[in-house]
């Protein structure tokens, strides 16, 4: 976990995205679930609150985990929905380790499918945008080659005809090509981020589905194959 985030002093920032995990065990201290991370990061002095722990990803987004004082409830909250997935995943794994798999984990709210669908739409739109951009780039490069060919023909000609602004068209086409290529590069960066977000949401949904519907390990493997979190944005 030290690779992915750091532990910070409990944060009270506005958290609009929340997920509550319910267990059948009594309340426990949060440090017990993240002992190895506290040791690896050397942050024992800031982990003094027994029921709250805040994590900050390297991109600056904070996720806070709160443990209910009366029951074994864990609330994971953050300003970004995409930030929840990783901590939910880690927390569920660690709850199972701490209680040696002898724990019932449930989800208080419904499975956040709406957020998943939004992420799928965003990812799809970006893929479509890149596809259209590539088509546009192909058109412009074709135009560039045609104009270039005509110019070369005139250059070779002993009695050349006037250029008729062909040189201007060549320059303009070249500029267009460069602009479109830069746009595609930007979109590809955005697509990478969208893929990461989608992957994170799918992973979280997989884990929540497993806990909520008590899916066996074997069925969970099947679910992971059907609802895959491995997003590959290669050209088909």
């Amino acid at each position: 976990m030290a690779l992915s985030c750091k532990i910070i002093a409990p944060s009270n920032l506005k958290n609009t995205n929340k997920i509550t995990i319910v267990t059948d065990k009594d309340a426990a201290e949060i440090n017990g679930f993240f002992e190895d991370v506290i040791a690896q990061l050397g942050v024992r002095e800031i982990c003094t609150t027994p029921n709250v722990m805040s994590f900050m990803y390297h991109n600056g987004v904070i996720v806070t985990v709160l443990i209910s004082k009366n029951a074994g409830k864990f609330r994971i909250q953050s300003s970004s929905f995409d930030a929840l997935g990783y901590i939910v995943q880690e927390l569920v794994k660690r709850i199972n380790i701490v209680y040696s798999d002898d724990v019932k984990i449930d989800l208080q709210d419904s499975i956040p499918l709406h957020e998943l669908f939004i992420s799928i739409d965003d990812h799809f739109e970006l893929r479509e945008k890149i596809f259209k951009g590539k088509q546009k780039l192909e058109d412009r490069s074709y135009q560039f080659r045609i104009v270039e060919k005509r110019l070369i023909n005139r250059f070779k000609d002993k009695n050349p005809t006037p250029l008729n602004n062909l040189d201007f068209l060549l320059n303009q086409t070249y500029q267009d090509m460069m602009n479109i290529a830069n746009e595609i590069l930007e979109d590809q960066k955005e697509l990478k981020t969208a893929s990461q977000n989608l992957s994170s949401r799918i992973r979280m949904i997989q884990i929540l589905l497993k806990q909520k519907f008590k899916i066996s390990d074997e069925s969970f493997e099947l679910l992971k194959h059907h609802l895959s979190a491995d997003i590959h944005d290669f050209d088909e």
Partner: protein, 182 residues
């Protein structure tokens, strides 16, 4: 179409259009059962021979173990023009985790050894592939290499998994070589 990492290939068809397959009946001809049986036996013996060959345990085996240090600040200049590496507040050098893989081999040498390091998307590694034409263990059973993992600051983490795998040619005592993985 879905190809899972454990080798399952699944082809799904979503749609309402009925399949439009044209069935072509083969021309009827006399079957030569004796020839078919002979061919079947020949192939079966080859399959069995191959299976037996695969079951042979290698004389020498290679195993990989790993060690991971605590998070530290890089003590050397790391080129980061796009500012993608995670840094501590006010620091100029990125943070990193020092990792080590240790190869343990009970033979003398391995040939064409290639160690691959696969890291999650929110991290970078200073070296992804370590390759050795011949790695001589020279009486020592361990060989180690150090690599550094640098977390990025532009993606949300999805997983923590770092996979280290190796492929190599191992000599057999009876002669010949095996392509092995660890």
């Amino acid at each position: 179409m879905h190809f899972a990492d454990n080798g399952w290939l699944q082809v799904s068809y979503l749609g309402t259009e009925p399949p439009k397959l044209n069935y072509i009946l083969p021309e009827s001809k006399d079957m030569k059962y004796e020839e078919m049986e002979a061919e079947h036996q020949r192939l079966l013996s080859r399959i069995l021979a191959n299976e037996q060959d695969e079951k042979t345990e290698p004389d020498f085996t290679l195993s990989i173990s790993t060690e991971m240090d605590t998070v530290e600040e890089a003590d050397e200049y790391i080129d980061d023009p796009e500012n993608i590496y995670a840094k501590r507040e006010g620091a100029t050098n990125p943070i990193r985790i020092k990792c080590k893989f240790i190869l343990n081999y009970n033979g003398e040498e391995v040939k064409n050894l290639m160690v691959n390091i696969i890291i999650p998307d929110h991290c970078e590694v200073d070296k992804k592939v370590f390759s050795y034409k011949i790695l001589n263990f020279g009486g020592q059973s361990d060989y180690s290499e150090i690599f550094y993992i640098y977390p990025r600051n532009d993606y949300f983490p999805v997983s923590n998994e770092v996979v280290i795998s190796a492929s190599y040619m191992s000599t057999r005592s009876a002669g010949g070589v095996d392509l092995r993985t660890a």
